[in-house]
């Protein structure tokens, strides 16, 4: 579990690499700054209140955790290693969940890159990670009504990825597209990123991190279940990559590595909800479909005149939904009834996230503005907000 915590932490480097790799050089410092902020602030916020909000012993039981009971400080008795049936300690649990929490904001970060105001984004992070994410989490993982009711989401296709994805969708809508992303006639333009090797490294790191994400979500050291989870996770990732590669080769007649990479991520998100329920064959199918969905999703987002530089919506929202529904279609819990439950769960979480993200972002927009000035955007955010460059001394030979 502690190792998994480390791996999930490391995913933040993966996200950072992916995001800076797929965006322009002039905004690199800004993106790094956002990501470093997210993990620091996310951990502290989760410590201050998020964890207790998320695992409150919801139904009025006298659980060992109850929000009002603690204020800021976690209980010292949580350190008893007997916590959680001996598998891990309260502390490990907190840290593992805390590393997750920040992920929701990281997803948004990618989608709004290259145009959002730093301060507005930091404010949004504080509210969304500090408040909305734990509330949704409590509904399911905190034994809230979704859990009671039979909704299944193993490691967070909905609870983590869709929560981030919905907010990304709202944010992208409210922000508008980057300068130059669409022509006056509305034709989407390519805005290539500046460092594809780092983006690829990001994908490798994320895949590794998912071992911790899904492996750790078993929340026990049961080797049978954990190892199955790792196998389904890896096979889905591989199948997702191959799926996206094949489809984009057919559609666009080139071997686009960024699609391949997004397909891998799509496969990972897709398997997340049911990683412990699927047979390997089913994992391959889920991953493969996820890879196709990523490619189609990216095209769809462009068609809708939304601008998502890194494909976050396609990867995290589209496949978050797909993965959640897949639990009702494939694997140990597949049934019409379960599919319906999954569908309703997706809908409730979606409605809540869209609404709350909209309220937060719209308020910030009114109060502070969401977007940097046009000049600042063209010049790059690094110069204006940070007075720095990403490669200040880079010289050619």
């Amino acid at each position: 579990m502690m190792i998994c915590t480390g791996l999930v932490f490391f995913m933040h480097l993966g996200f950072s690499f992916l995001e800076i790799g797929l965006t322009r050089q002039k905004n690199t410092i800004n993106i790094l700054f956002k990501n470093v902020f997210i993990i620091c602030a996310g951990l502290l916020l989760y410590y201050i209140g998020g964890f207790n909000l998320m695992y409150p012993g919801f139904e009025g039981e006298q659980g060992f955790l109850k929000f009002a009971g603690f204020g800021i400080a976690p209980p010292n008795n949580g350190m008893t290693p007997a916590y959680a049936e001996g598998g891990y300690t309260w502390w490990t649990d907190f840290l593992f969940q805390g590393m997750f929490a920040a992920t929701a904001a990281t997803i948004v970060s990618g989608a709004v890159a290259e145009r959002i105001k730093l301060s507005s984004f930091m404010l949004f992070t504080i509210f969304y990670v500090g408040l909305i994410y734990p509330v949704v989490g409590a509904w399911h993982w905190g034994q809230g009504f979704l859990a009671q009711w039979g909704f299944y989401d193993f490691a967070g296709s909905t609870i983590v990825h869709s929560v981030g994805g919905w907010a990304a969708l709202v944010a992208v809508y409210l922000l508008g597209a980057r300068e130059g992303k669409f022509t006056k006639e509305g034709k989407p333009q390519a805005i290539p990123g500046h460092n594809i090797p780092l983006a690829a490294a990001g994908v490798f790191i994320l895949w590794l991190g998912w071992f911790g994400f899904n492996g750790g979500s078993v929340l026990s050291a049961d080797p049978a279940k954990t190892s199955l989870t790792l196998v389904t996770t890896s096979l889905a990732a591989a199948a997702g990559g191959i799926g996206a590669f094949l489809l984009s080769s057919v559609l666009y007649k080139n071997q686009d590595i960024t699609m391949f990479m997004n397909g891998i991520l799509g496969g990972l998100v897709g398997i997340t909800a049911g990683a412990d329920l699927m047979s390997p064959n089913e994992a391959v199918i889920i991953g493969f479909v996820a890879g196709l969905l990523v490619v189609l999703g990216i095209a769809l987002i462009d068609r809708l005149k939304l601008d998502d530089p890194v494909g976050a919506i396609s990867v995290h929202l589209v496949n978050g939904i797909w993965g959640t529904l897949a639990v009702g279609i494939f694997g140990a819990q597949a049934s019409g009834a379960q599919l319906l439950k999954q569908l309703i769960g997706v809908g409730i979480v979606g409605a809540f996230c869209v609404t709350s993200a909209f309220i937060i972002l719209f308020s910030i927009k009114k109060a502070l503005g969401l977007r940097v000035s046009k000049q600042e955007e063209i010049d790059g955010l690094d110069g204006h907000e940070h007075g720095m460059e990403a490669y200040p001394d880079f010289r050619l030979n």
């Binding site: 989407p188 390519a190 960024t258 462009d302």
Partner: protein, 112 residues
Amino acid sequence: MKKIEAIIRRSKYEAVKEALQAKGILFFSYWEVTGIGHEKKGHVYRGISYSTSDIERRCLSIIVNDEFEEAAIEAILEAAKTGEVGDGKIFVYEVKEAYRIRTGEKGGETLN
């Protein structure tokens, strides 16, 4: 003295360099430029195909004494040619004076 500015395909650089050397033109400077011309290059990025006329090129700046002008141009015209659109251009300018920093001397002999 003349300045011969040749904007060529990067992939033809080695050939041009050799051709110049064969004519006894050994010294020059170069840097990378982006050229906007007739040539277009197709790209696909995340599902969006686009064609750009911003093509990477190499710009050679060769200062020669007048008697080498013709030889230099001939060498480049030959070595840099593929016959496809986008082979590049040569521009010729007058140079007023040249100095060698190491010695402080000036004039045509600084070019060798």
